[in-house]
Amino acid sequence: MEQIFAALHAVSQGQTLLMMVIGVLIGMVVGVLPGIGGVQTMVLMLPFTWKMDIIPALSLLLSIYGTAKVGGSLTAILFNIPGDNPNAVTLIDGYPMAKNGKARTAIAASATVSIIGGLFSCISLLVFLPLMYQIILLFGPAEFFMLALFGLTAISAVSAKTIFKGLLTGAIGMLIVTIGFHPTVGYARYSLGTFYLREGIHMIPVMLGTLGMSEAIKIWMEGGSVVTKGIPLRGSILEGIMACFKNIPLIMRSCLIAWVIGVAPGAGATVAGFISYASAAKTCKNPETFGKGDVRGVIAGDTALNAVSGGDFLPTITIGIPGSTAMAILLVALALHGISPGPQLVKLRLDLVYFIVFIFFIAHIFGALSVVGFSPLVEKLTKLRAEMISPIVIILCFVASYNAREYWQDMLVTTVFGILGYYMRKYGYHPVPLVLGLILGPIAEISFFQALAFSKNGIWVFFTRIPSLIIFLCILAVILWPYIEKLYKKPKTSDG
């Protein structure tokens, strides 16, 4: 209870609210901009939050994340183009609604369910946190080491096209952080006698390159703008809000579907949105109206897009395994402020966990209200051309990478990883395992030696402790899944 009050006190601080307002404004803009989304903006903002206190830093980042999602629905409704991949579900009914003169109704419905979805996410987190807390109290260094490995293998398996590509990228991430000074080792490795390498290659320039600059290069190559012509804003906002309250059972069902999907790392908002939409289209009365401008379609899809965050946050906060790229960035933000993501966070900074929950919910409210209120202004931003957006992202990448440690070499690292990141994406090597390798590499290394130091039976400590053994079996299951699946499927085909 004490921690909840501490978190509420932190939320009410002036600096927190100011950062939230800034975050909401930024999130709203980037939500509708072509090519650049909430994730890229969170990366660009990371170096500027480094010198801030953790509370305002998280306020800024979570506000951007929460608002960008709502902004993405706006372009789906008005222009039939999803702001981000998951928003594709919004356009199925959102765009026909806009064509029928109900654009405002669709936007209001989307914004209302984003608040409800956000609320559900927070409640689900508050309910399951104590349970997870009891489980992680059983964890020691051996389990932390196994969890770090599990996080890496799980995200490698789900974020890349083939498990090999994910594992290789994750391993490279872990190798990058071996460069430089390490506390358990006591001296710098691979420094080649240079001061820069003795300090190590920092995760910020690498992330800016792979997640931010690579995207800017792609925008340059593709060119053009999102839209040339949109649909005028018509319809009633109140009608959209009332439609949500008339469909509470549908919203609840979508929330539950999304939560279950969110807990599984990698499944994400897109799958949640479409499963929820498909379920609504199959089970609701008059299903023939779905796809022709039925507000229930917008409600089902958008509720899931926002409710999925609860399931997404839970493994991120409690065991340090991010369910999505945005969650990986959140882990980096925590790590930059000296807070170990995962079990340590719940054990030592429960107030911060509650703060994250509250701020995320408030960001949803602010974001939804702003998108409804400023939609005519925001709509104009979609006409910005690629030739204008790319240079802005590149400037911010350079400035942000220099800002992190004041080394010009960091700008070089950003450029190199920007080019590498572009080709990695192009050929199916997703950069998220690399980023996760950067975060989890040091955690794994420290926990490994701690576990060995406290152990009486050497390396066997990882297999004699039950929680550690269970996590190890999960790692094996993730890696061996394709082979297990083959064994499972073979008898079926031979029967058939």
Binding site: K51, A88, I92, F164, W220, M388, I395, F398, Y402
Partner: protein, 199 residues
Amino acid sequence: MSKQPKIKRGELSIKELKELRGELWVIPPFFIFALIIFLGSFLYKFEAAMVPMLIGGIAVILAGMRFLHILFPKTKIGEFKEAGLAGEFDSLEKKIKEETLKGKYEEEPEKTITFRQEKRALIALISCFVVFLLFGHLVGIFFTIVGTSYYYGFKKKRPLLISLIAMYIIVYILLVKLLEGPMFFGLVFEPILESLDLI
């Protein structure tokens, strides 16, 4: 109607082969980096060498096998077709999308990016880096916005001026003055400005 012959080399079509060759942008740097870390680990004591040796070794083997497959596509070594859970989610997502979006939304076919376009963008990016490095933030911002826009044939003065002013406000006023961020004047400009006592 004439049937177009399917051109194959070994087991792969020309498109697949091209995609595989494209991995040369990724795999050799990964392989060389992992090899350096792996071999370098032998210079350190057990505690320091353990992780780089283990992870480096795994990375060298994986990247090496893939490299071999790229060079000799007929070989099964390094083929790594196993989709893992990503493939499961991908196919699930694709299936649901197909079912729900059928006839309602036509996803734009992915634009084919030519090597020429890639070269153009990389030249622009590297030029921006060089200008940022030599002349710092202030000149770098100007060059990145105006120079690259002209390079891409976008010459509308008003939007360029607006984004230029906006970036100077964001970087100089917001980040440097208000958030007390560092200002970089470049490897060429910094000594000059310092000698003139301007910074």
